[in-house]
Amino acid sequence: MASRTSRHGSAPGALDGSPRRRLPMRLLLPLLVLLALMAMLMLRGYVHSEILADHRVRPEASAAKVPDKILDGGPVIDTRSGRTTSLRVPAHHLVLTFDDGPDPTWTPKVLDVLKKHHAHAVFFVTGTMTSRYPDLVKRMVAEGHEVGLHTFNHPDLSYQSTKRVDWELSQNQLAITGAAGIRTSLFRPPYSSFADAMDDKSWPVTEYIGTRGYITVVNDTDSEDWKKPGVDEIIRRATPHGGKGAIVLMHDSGGDRHQTVRALDTFLPTLQRQGYEFDNLTEALDAPSAHTPVTGLDLWQGKAWIFLVQASDNVTGVLVVALAVIGSLVIGRFVLMLVLSAAHARRVRRRGFSWGPPVTEPVSVLVPAYNEAKCIENTVRSLMASEHPIEILVVDDGSTDGTARVVEAMGLPNVRVVRQLNAGKPAALNRGLANARHDLIVMMDGDTVFEPATVGELVQPFADPRVGAVAGNAKVGNRDSLIGAWQHIEYVMGFNLDRRMYDLLRCMPTIPGAVGAFRRSALERVGGMSDDTLAEDTDITMAMHRDGWRVVYAENARAWTEAPETVQQLWSQRYRWSYGTMQAIWKHRRALVDKGPSGRFGRVGLPLVSLFMVVAPLLAPLIDVFLLYGVIFGPTQKTILAWLGVLAIQVVCAAYAFRLDRERMTHLVSLPLQQILYRQLMYVVLLQSWITALTGGRLRWQKLRRTGVVEAPGGLIPRQPTRAGSGDRRPVG
C-alpha cells in the first residue's frame, strides 16, 4: 500500500496542486461536450415539435367585430398598412394550396403530379418541416410554385402573444430563406378555413399580421383530404361551382396523402379540359411575385440555421445508434456476467471440488505500508490469527508517522519489519519479495484486515501448477454511510460477477492490491512489480497472463478494507485506477500481435477489458443525456419506465451477486440513488482519465508523480484512510 499511498499522495498533489486552474479545465471539456449534445438534442426536439409545441385550438367565437366586407369577401385578405380589403381569384382560375408540408414522402409525389400536368400551386410550409426538408422547398420554388408561411410549429395564433407571433413568422421565414434563398409575403394561419369563418379572436391576429407586411390567404373550397374521404369525395369538395375561380385547400403532410395525390392526378386534367388554369396565387391575380430574393447576411443566417438543424438531426441519429450499441453492450455484459458467474460458482462450489492436493506450505505475507500507524496494528493482529503457517513482512516505505515502530513495539514473533526510503509501492513490494523466505507470496494493504482462513483459502489454487496468481475477495467494511454502501454494492458485484466472468474467460485484469497471492517463480519470470503505471496490480496481472500463467479468483479469501469516505478521496482513487488501467492496457498493447498465450490474452482478454472498462463507460453519459431529455421533453412516462427497466436488470444482477456472497440484501436499497449520483461520478473520472491520456498527460503525469513522491512525506497531503483493493471497476453501472 505504501506506494499507493505515496502515489496516492502524489495524485491529488498533481491534481490539487493548482486546483483552481487545472481541475476545472479538465472538467470543462466533458461539460462542454455534454452541453453541446444537449443543445443538439433540444434543437432536434424543437424542429420535431417535441419542445414548445402548443396543440390547443380555439373554439369558434363571435364575429361581431370582424368587418362585413371581410366576412363576405374573398380569401386573399390584405390588411397591410391600414388596408382592409380582400380579393378573389378570377373565374376559371384555380389556386391549389397545400398546407403543413413539406413531407419527405408525399410532397415529392404532389410535385411530380403538378409537374406532369404543368400546374403551379402554393405551398404553405411550416418552419419545422422546412428546416428538416429544405431541399423540397427549394424544388417548389425552382418549379414555379409559390411558398407561404404557415408559422414555425403550427400553433393556434389566437392563443399566442404578439412576441410569439413575430417569432413564429420570422423563424418560419428564416427557414425558407435558408432552404430556397427567398422571402415570401404570403401567410396562412394554422387551423384557418374560409374568410367568413373569421371571428373576434382570429381577426385581430390577421390584422396584426398585415402590419408585419404579410397577405393572409385562406380558401374557398376545402378538399378535407386529411379525413381521407376517398378520391371522388376530395375532387367533389375541391371543385368550385359554375366555373368560378377558387383557392383550394389541400394537404401534402401530416399523414398518408396517397388519396390527395391520386385525386390531383384526376382533378387536374379534368378541370384543365373544362378550361381551368392552375396557377400560383400571384399568377392568378396577375400580381408581382410574392417571392423576393434574399442576399447577404440574412441569407447566411438562414443557411446556418438549416445547417444546424441538419447537423442536429444527423448527430441525434448517430447518438441513437450509439445508445442502441451501449444499451446492447450493457445488457449483453449483464447476461454474460450472470451466465458465467453462475457457471463459475457452480464449478468451484461443486462437492469435492479441489485445485489439487491441499496446499500446506508456509506463505510469506507482504504488507507494504506508508503512514498506516493507525491501521497497521489491526492488520498485523488479524494476520497473527491466520490458520495457515505464515511469515509476515511489513515493508515500511519511508513512513513519517512511525508505522514501523508501531509494528516493532508489538514484539511479535515471525513478524519482520523492513524499512526503505520512500520509493513507492512497487519498490516496497519488490523489496519484500527479495526478503521473503517462502515461494508463495501474499500481498495485502496496510489498512486491510484478513480473516483467519483468508491466507489458506487464497493459496489453495496453487495446487494447480498452471496457476500463477490468485485474486481474493475484498469487502467494504464501512458500508453504513451512503458512499460506503454504494461502494459495497460495487465491490460485491465486481468480485462476484465481473471477477468470476473474467476468471472463466481467462482475462482477469487485476489482482486487487488488498488481497492477492503470487507464485514467486511467476513473479520473477515477469520481472517483479513495475512502476511504469499507476496501477501496478493491473500491470502485473496482465504480465502474468502474457507469460502464460492462469489467474484465478478465490471467493472465500475475504479481506476487509475501508472504502473512501469522501467524494474527493473516491475521486482520486478512481482516477488513479482508471488512468492506471489505461496505462497498463497501453503498455501491454503488443500482446495483440504476439504468439502463444500472450497473443491469446492480447486478442481475447485485452479487447474485452478495454471494451468493458475503457470504451463502454465513455458512452455511458449518453444514457443520462437521453434520460434527462426524455424526462423533461417527453415522453416522460416511457423514459422513466425504460430507466426503471434497466434499474430492474441491475437489481437482479446485484441481488444475485449478493446471494453468491451471502450478503444481506438491505444495502440494495441504495442502488437507485447509486444509479443517479454515483455512476455519473465514475464516468466523469473516466472521462478525465481519457483527457489526460489524449492530451499527452502520460509524460506530465510521470514528472508530477516524482515531485509528488518527494512532497508526500512532508505531510502536505492528508493521509487517506483508504486504498481498497482495485479491480472492480464496473464500466457501465
Binding site: 458500508r479 453504513d480 460506503g484 454504494w486 416522460t636 436499497v669 441504495s670 440513488l673
Partner: protein, 418 residues
Amino acid sequence: MTAHGYPTSAAISRGAAGSAGVGGWQPEVAAAPVTAGGGSGRDRYLDLLRSTALVRVVVYHLFGWAWLTVLFPSMGVMFALAGSLMARSLSRPALSVIRGRIRRLLPPLWAFSAVALALMFAGGWNPVKDPDNGGIWGVLKLIDYVIPVGAPPFPWHIGSKSGLLEDTWAVQAAGPLWYLRAYLWFVIASPLLLWAFRRAPWPTLLAPLGLTAIVGTGLVTIPGETGNAVTDFAVYGGCWVLGFAHHDGLLSRIPRYVAVSGSALLMAFGLWWASGHLGPDGWDLNDIPLAQASWSFGFVVILLQYSPSWRELPGRLRRWDKLVTLSNNRAVTIYLWHNMLIMATVPIIDQVYNLPFMQSDRAVGALDSTYMIWMFLLVWPLIGLTILALGWIEDIAAKRSPRLWPNGVRRGGSRRKA
C-alpha cells in the same frame, strides 16, 4: 456583514436562558449553559434551516413559483424543528410546557389580529353578514383571531378591485394563519405523541403519512374547517414526529444509507404522486397533500440525518450570521406579517407611476415588467420596519426585556440598524 462580530454575539442575543422558544420559529436556549465567547449552545445548522425556510416562504408568497415548494419544503422543515424543540422541553411537566408555548405564541398574534381586524372592519366587512360564514357562528369564529384553535374567518372579497389593495387582500393577509392553528394543535398533542413515539417509534412516525393517504387523497373527505385541520395535522405530523426522532437520537442510529435511500424512494413516490394529481398551480405541493407529506418527510429526514450541529456557521455562511440570528429571534413576527407586507408593497410601488419621469410608455412598460422584482426588493425593508415596530412583543411574550433589533450584535454597538 463581516464575520468579526460573531463570537461574542451569540451569547447576548439569547439572554434569558431557560425560556422555551416558540418551536419552529423561535429556537430555545440549549440546556447547556452559555459559554463565554464561544457562542451559545444553539445549533446554528437548525437556525440556518429555520431562516432558509422563512425566506423561502416569503419568496414563494411573493412570486408564487410552484417549484419552490419542491426546492425547499419550508413548512415541513419548520414543523420538524418545532417538534425537536418540543421533545426537548417535554422533559419538564407537560402542562407548563404547553402553557409556556401558548403564552409565547399569542401576544404577537393578538397584535396582528388587532391590525388585520381593524382594517377589515374599516373595509366594511361584517362577519354577521358574510356570505361564506355569516351569522352567529361567523361572529363566534372571530375568537380564532385570539386563540387560533381554528383558522379564522375572513372576507373573500373586500373593498373594490380598483382600491389601493386588491380586493382579496384579506385572504392573503389571513392566509398564513393556518400555520398557527396547526402549530397549536401539535403543541397540545405533543405529550401524547411523544408518549406514543417512545413506545412505538416507527408506527408513530409513519402513521401521519398513512393518515394523509386516507384524508388527503379524497378517499375519505372530512368537510369544512375540521377537514383542513385534520389534513394539515396529517401532512405535517410526520415532520413533527421526525423532530422527536431527531431529538431522541433515533435518526442518527439508522445507518445513513438506509435513511437517505429510503427518503429518496419516498420522495420519488411523492413526485410521482404529484405528477398524477397536479393542482391548479401545477407542481405546487401545497395543493397535493400526499405529495407534500412524503416529499417533506423525505427531505426533512435527509436534512436532519446530516445534521452537523454547528456551534457557529462555517465558512462563507458566516457572513449571514446576523441575519440568521435576527430572523430566528423574530420568526413569529416575520411569518405573521410577511403576507400583509407583500400586499402593502403594491400601493407603495404604484405611487411610482405618478412620478413625472414615469409618464412615457417605455417607462411604464419597464416598471410593469419588473414589478415583482421591486416588490421583492421592497418587502424586506418593510419586514425590517415591522420587526422594529412590533418585534419586541415576542420578547415580552417570552418574559424577556424587549429588544429592538436582536441580530446578535452586542448592545450599544454601532451596528444597530434603525
